[in-house]
Structure formats: C-alpha cells, structure tokens
Amino acid sequence: MSERDLMAEFTQPEPLMEAIRAARAEGYVRLEAYTPFSIEEMPKALGLKPSRLRVVMFVGGVIGAVAGYGLQHWSAVSAYPINTGGRPLASWPAFLIVTFEIAVLFAAVAGFAALIIRTGLTELSNPVFATRGFERVTQDRFFLRVDAKDPKFDPVETRAFLERLSPVAVNVVPT
C-alpha cells in the first residue's frame, strides 16, 4: 500500500498551533495547515517563506506606468500632435493622472493573477476535499496535514504522534 498523507482535525486554533509546534520540534518539515480564517501567527509557526506577491504587484505597476505614460507621450507628440497656441506637446503634468490610474490597475491585475496561479485556484477540485470531515475547514474546524513524502513520515508512527496531540480525528488524505 502506498503511503498517504495524514490529516489531524482540531476544534480550535490553539491546539492546532500547539500541534504545529510539536510536529516541527519532532522534525517534520512537510506540513500544511488548513483553517476557516486567516491566523496571523500561522506563516511564522509553519516557517513559511514570505510570499513575493507584492514584488509581482510592484513590477506590474511599473510596467503599467511606463506603458501608460509611453502611450500618451507617443500619441501626443508623434502620432497626433495638436498645436494649441504653441504649448509644449510633451505636457507631462497632464499625463500623470492616467499614468497613475493605469499603474494601479496593472498592479491589481498582476497581483490577482499571481494569487490565482500560485494558490492553484484554477483547479476547482482538490484531493484534500475527499478527506473525511474536511468540508468543515471552511466552517469551524482546523486541520494539520503531514505529507507522506516527509522524510520523517511513517504511516504508523506519524499517526500515533498525531493521536497524542488530542485531535478530534486523524484521517488519511485519499490521493
């Protein structure tokens, strides 16, 4: 029988945080937690690397600003110059508003695209959904998942370890 991930279910966030600490102390590295709401201390507790999503947003914003300003400059100076009383064609202060709006728009869209792609939200179904009791993750239950590929993983010992953390249940993730 191939080894399958284990999922421990808790009723409150505190025991879940305890369990994460215990599992990491035990030497488990491939852990994932599932919760109904965002918990501030969670990324630190799991030792997640900070997400670079905002870098993507920043780059998107810069691209938007350059493209927006460039389009205005090019169309006002070379493609369709209108001479109004000898005023400068490259009237940059008037171009800044559209530049700003497009920069914000590009940053927002780039960030959204990154969020969707990185969280795999394009896949509407996920093997974890088949775990018994997992539908309550979006309601009132808190889950800790230990990956079967974890070097320390052992179907029997890991299960016994998770049972000791007093969860309401330990289930396998059917993959």
Binding site: P13, E14, E32, A33, Y34, T35, P36, F37, S38, I39, M42, P43, L46, L48, S51, L53, R54, M57, L71, Q72, S75, A76, A79, Y80, I82, S91, A94, F95, I97, V98, F100, E101, I102, V104, L105, A107, A108, V109, G111, F112, A114, L115, I116, R118, T119, G120, L121, T122, E123, L124, S125, N126, V128, F129, E135, R136, V137, T138, Q139, D140
Partner: protein, 457 residues
C-alpha cells in the same frame, strides 16, 4: 457620551462589536443559512417587484434616448450637462465610498469593519457601474463612446490626454476593475463556505466554480492576506484620485463657481459622506431584514453616525470656504454666483441641500440619536437627498449664471430626466436584492477572526 476611548485593545474592540461569544459554527450558520435555507419574505418580493419596474423604466428611458437623442432631456445651450452629469457624480460618489471605507478601516485596523465591508463594497460595485453609464449616455452619439479609448483607428485619431473627460474614462474603468478584484478576493473564502454547506447540486457547482477551489491552506491564507492588504493600500489613493478627477471635470475650466482649487478634496469628502450615508441606510435595512442585530450592532451604528457627523462638519466648512473665497477673491462673477445660489430661482433647493448636508446631521452629536434607527435613517436619507441636490446644483447653477448675462438660462428637468434617474435607483435596488440572496452579506471569515480574538486575547 457613554464610552469614548481613543485606543481600545483588540479584546475590547472584539467585545464591543461582537456582543456575545459566538462559536465559529454560529457565525457560519447565522450568515449562510439566510441564503441556503431561509425563504425570502413578502417584503423582499415587494421590493423586488418595484426594482424590476425601475429597471424596466431605466431600459425604456435609455432606449428612447437612443431613438430620439439627448433633446428629450431638459438641457439647453447653457445647461449642457443637466441630470446626466449630476447623477453621474452622485452615483460615483456612492460608488467610491465602499472601497474607501473598507480599505481605510482595514489599514487603520478598525476590526468592526468586518460586519459592514462586504455589502458596502457590493454597493460600490453597483453604484460605480451605474455611474459609468451616465457619461456615455450624455454623449450626443453614445454609440461612439469607444472613441475615448486609445486604439489605432482608421481615422488616425488619438484621445486628447489633457482633457479631464479622458482622465475620467481611465479613472472609472480602472476603479471599476479594481473594485471587482478587491471585492471578489474578499468573498472567495466565503464562497468556499457556501460550497461546503450547499445542499443542492446547483448550489455546490455554482459556489464551487466561483470559490475557485479554495482550500483554506496556510499558504493560501498568507498570499491572500498579502494581496488583500496591498489592495487596500492601493485602494485609498485610487479612490481619492478617481473622485479628484471628477472634481477636475469642473475645476479645470474657467467658469465661476467651478474654477476652485478646493474642488478635488471637497468632492472626495462629499463622496465618502454620501456613500457612508448609503451604507448606513443599507446596514439598517440588512440588519432588520436578516435579523442580524448581533452582527451589526448598535455600536456599529454609533460609530457610523460619528463618521457621518464628521463628514457633515467638513462639508459645512467646505461650503463656508467657497462663500468666503468668492467674496474675498473679489471677482464679480464669483460673488454673483453665490448670491444667485442663495436668492435665485434655485434657492429653495440650495437651502434644502444645506439642511440635509449640514443641519440635519447635527442631531448625531447625541448617542441616543446615533443608535436610534429611525433618527439615523432619517438623517442618512436627508444626506443622500442633500448630496444629490448638491450635485444637481453644482451642475445647474454655474451654467445658468455664467460670465455672460446674455447666456443666462435656467435649467428644468423633463420627465425623461426623472425617469432615467428613478430607473437607475430601481436598477441599483435590483442588483442589491439579488446580491443579498446570493452572496453572504457579512464577511464570515473576518467575523470568525474577530470571534477568535475575542476568545483568545
């Protein structure tokens, strides 16, 4: 004043805005069962029927406009904007508030926002999309509105980038897309909750599709938080820019009463003010209709009342600044416009506007008034009426009393002006009634976070 402290601890905040300890399951059930199991009452159906009539009226008015042209409106050679632009400014004001309120309160860690931000943002989306219709409709040939968009056309024409009207297009379009992303991101985890609780296959499939396979994993939440907070930080300057551009539509010209440097900030405050008044109206309706008194509490109303009061004070100061500056500036045209406001044929409306925006909200100095739903809703509706009159008057007064006396001409709306405006109100109601039946009106995951803080802190 019962309890006013500048800084509350997280626990105190949670205790004030979540009056009793609620389990996560209770929060989930209270909000989601409204949609999943409760049947709609007669009141909803009555309003829904009204809203459909309104939507029909809007469509008919637009159709007649396309057939006959803008001559069906009360505009004339001096008053070239009329209701269309006034309604645009009013709707976009309401449409700015939801995102502004939601992101400002998030950035300043006002946790009580979690009960109101969802429907405030939905209000924003609906109002902003209605607002976007008006500038298009007011064009003489609305079907050519895409000429505003920069694209390599066969005519080799490009937009005039120095015009506030072109800025407007970019501001509104960016803002609308931005608001949809901001709102939708916040709603994804709640749609997942609906997916997992839905009892019918249709429900599971529909909510499942829109929830995009959300699992609630720690990594997803971390990215979600990063994105959501960054969006809030971008949202505040974006909203300010959008309504500043609306202000510049007027201020960038040379007309007396319009050419004022105060216009951009004054428009932004006015937008927040009228939008917050609309949020209060909707909050009272939702808490009554859904019986959510324990989620939208008296303390919420109290705080929103204070914000309305602050808005009305700033509006009062802005009006006074306008009067003072037109006297102090010494220009005859400016002084004449102000005396025209107070004594001319539009004067009754001007006084009613001052009553709604400045005088009526003074009731909100008292907590008893702020937590009394009847008084609060009266004030909120007076503000909405007052702000609408303000927009109408801004659009009508100056062209009626411009620099050249030979151009002085009064503006009076026709039945088609009214029908389009009332129609859009009906359409707004229609979209909002659909929203409350399909999407959780209160952000469940944020309220659960609040409940968690209340328990643990």
């Amino acid at each position: 004043m019962a309890t006013t402290k500048l800084h509350l601890t997280e626990r105190e905040t949670a205790a004030r805005f979540l009056p009793r300890e609620m389990t996560y399951d209770e929060v989930t059930r209270d909000v989601s069962e409204q949609i999943l199991t409760k049947r709609v009452g007669r009141v909803w159906w009555i309003f829904f029927a009204i809203s459909i009539l309104g939507t029909g009226l809007m469509l008919a008015s637009i159709a007649w406009l396309f057939i006959e042209g803008i001559g069906i409106w009360g505009i004339n050679t001096s008053n070239i904007w009329g209701f269309a632009i006034a309604n645009y400014v009013w709707w976009i004001g309401i449409g700015n508030a939801g995102t502004l309120i939601s992101s400002m309160l998030l950035l300043t860690r006002q946790k009580w926002r979690s009960s109101i931000n969802r429907f405030a943002e939905a209000m924003t989306l609906f109002a902003a999309s209605i607002a976007g219709l008006f500038p298009i409709l007011h064009l003489g040939r609305p079907y050519y509105f895409f000429w505003l968009v920069p694209y390599p056309s066969t005519m080799d024409l490009w937009p005039q980038w120095r015009s506030p009207l072109v800025w407007d297009l970019f501001a509104i379009a960016s803002y609308l897309i931005f608001s949809i992303l901001f709102w939708y991101t916040g709603v994804i985890p709640d749609l997942a909750t609906m997916r997992d609780r839905a009892r019918t296959t249709t429900g599971r499939v529909l909510y499942g599709a829109f929830a995009l396979g959300w699992t609630g994993s720690a990594r997803d939440w971390a990215r979600y938080e990063k994105y959501y907070k960054a969006m809030a930080a971008l949202g505040v300057p974006l909203v300010c820019s959008v309504h500043s551009v609306v202000g510049l539509d007027f201020a960038a010209g040379l007309a007396p009463g319009w050419q004022e440097t105060i216009f951009p900030p004054y428009f932004v405050v006015g937008a927040m003010f009228s939008g917050f008044a609309m949020v209060v109206t909707l909050a009272i309706a939702i808490r009554w209709g859904f019986g959510l008194r324990h989620l939208i509490t008296d303390n919420h109303l109290d705080l929103m009342g204070k914000i309305l009061l602050m808005g009305s004070l700033i509006m009062g100061i802005s009006y006074a600044t306008e009067w003072f500056m037109s006297w102090y500036g010494g220009s005859d045209a400016d002084r004449s416009v102000v005396s025209f406001e107070f004594t001319g044929p539009y004067a009754p409306w001007y006084w009613l506007m001052l009553f709604g925006n400045v005088l009526a909200p003074q009731l909100l100095w008292f907590r008893t008034a702020r937590i009394n739903t009847a008084i609060l809703i009266f004030v909120a509706i007076m503000i909405n009426v007052g702000m609408w009159l303000e927009r109408i008057l801004i659009v009508a007064v100056t062209p009626s009393h411009d620099q050249l006396p030979s151009q002085w001409r009064l503006y009076s709306p026709t039945i088609w002006d009214w029908s389009l405006f009332i129609g859009t109100l009906g359409f707004f109601l229609f979209m909002f009634l659909c929203f409350v039946r399909l999407v959780p009106v209160v952000s469940m995951h944020e309220v659960k976070q609040l409940a968690h803080e209340r328990r643990s802190a």
